[in-house]
Subunit: 207 residues, 2 copies
Amino acid sequence: MNFTQDDAQKLLKIIKARRDVRGNRFIAKPIEDTKLQLILEAAIHAPSVGYSQPWRFIVIKDQATKDKIVQNFEDENTKAKKIFHSRDLYQDLKLEGINEAPLNIAVVYEPKDEPVLGMTSMQKMGEYSVVCAVQNMWLMARSLNIGIGWVSILDEQKVLKTLDAAPKSQLIAYLCVGYVDKFYEQSELKMLGWDKEIKLHKCVEFL
Amino acid sequence: MNFTQDDAQKLLKIIKARRDVRGNRFIAKPIEDTKLQLILEAAIHAPSVGYSQPWRFIVIKDQATKDKIVQNFEDENTKAKKIFHSRDLYQDLKLEGINEAPLNIAVVYEPKDEPVLGMTSMQKMGEYSVVCAVQNMWLMARSLNIGIGWVSILDEQKVLKTLDAAPKSQLIAYLCVGYVDKFYEQSELKMLGWDKEIKLHKCVEFL
């Protein structure tokens, strides 16, 4: 299959329009099953090292589970606020949308017991495959005008326990998924002045 | 910006048509600078934890560098062949396209010295941001009808030394980038019977 210049430009637009969405932007409108299906279908078409497909997607609506994840976030963010005590902006930032988003999806890496092709030298390739799945989900969601926020201020082991995950599982991403009232034009942290954009020529070199 | 159903379907097509390309499919046609630019532009619009943008892209055409990477691969794959000694298929697989691809791109994670928002609890988020950039590159390349192969059978520390990377850098991905004579319809490892497809319902659960 050959794609056209228009297709490439459309993809670039989706990539550039993707945002990390927090609780201040999600709306209550439920996610249709057909759209959730498309997001998960995008996920499992990610590259996986040695075709190992080492992912598990736990779709969460259960309020008791969400409550535990919120508490986990609050505990971890209390520590983080101390680390960033000198930056007033951090203290007021809304950094998750666990309750505001109608769906949460925990994306978990389940290592294989046997050796995996392509992982014999770089053992993190299994995790990285699952991260590729997350990025596919994020782009697919954006093309469906659905927002995703990746919550990383969490104690991983407690999340895995809350989810009753299989032994040896690793939490790769905890995603909040929902429609939004709007997508910002740019990264929220850039707009708020948390950090500056690094231009392309600053991060590319040629050999 | 709102995307249409057609846009979402187009993205899903690109996602499903992406392949891991090895040396048996690359052709010598050079990559135009404008297309390389688009691939790198897609990369730096990936999500990055705390807007840290912790990536560096080393674009490699230099033959002496490629020679060292090939040697690195050969050494690591000799070990891997022993691990997979009972699987004949492994012994004959072409698993890289370092010389066949006109461009190689090493994608490196450069950790920050100061604390990063969103990394205070899950410290791998920096690496994961760089993986998201790799997946953006891969999809962007596919939409431009350019193939990418991710070579992971490499000694990471030796690659970093070969590239004269900054201290504390981590190699996330070593990519071979080039036009191809064809893209396979399905994952090559699936077609060859290395492993079976895991259907969506097997890797999703609901809470």
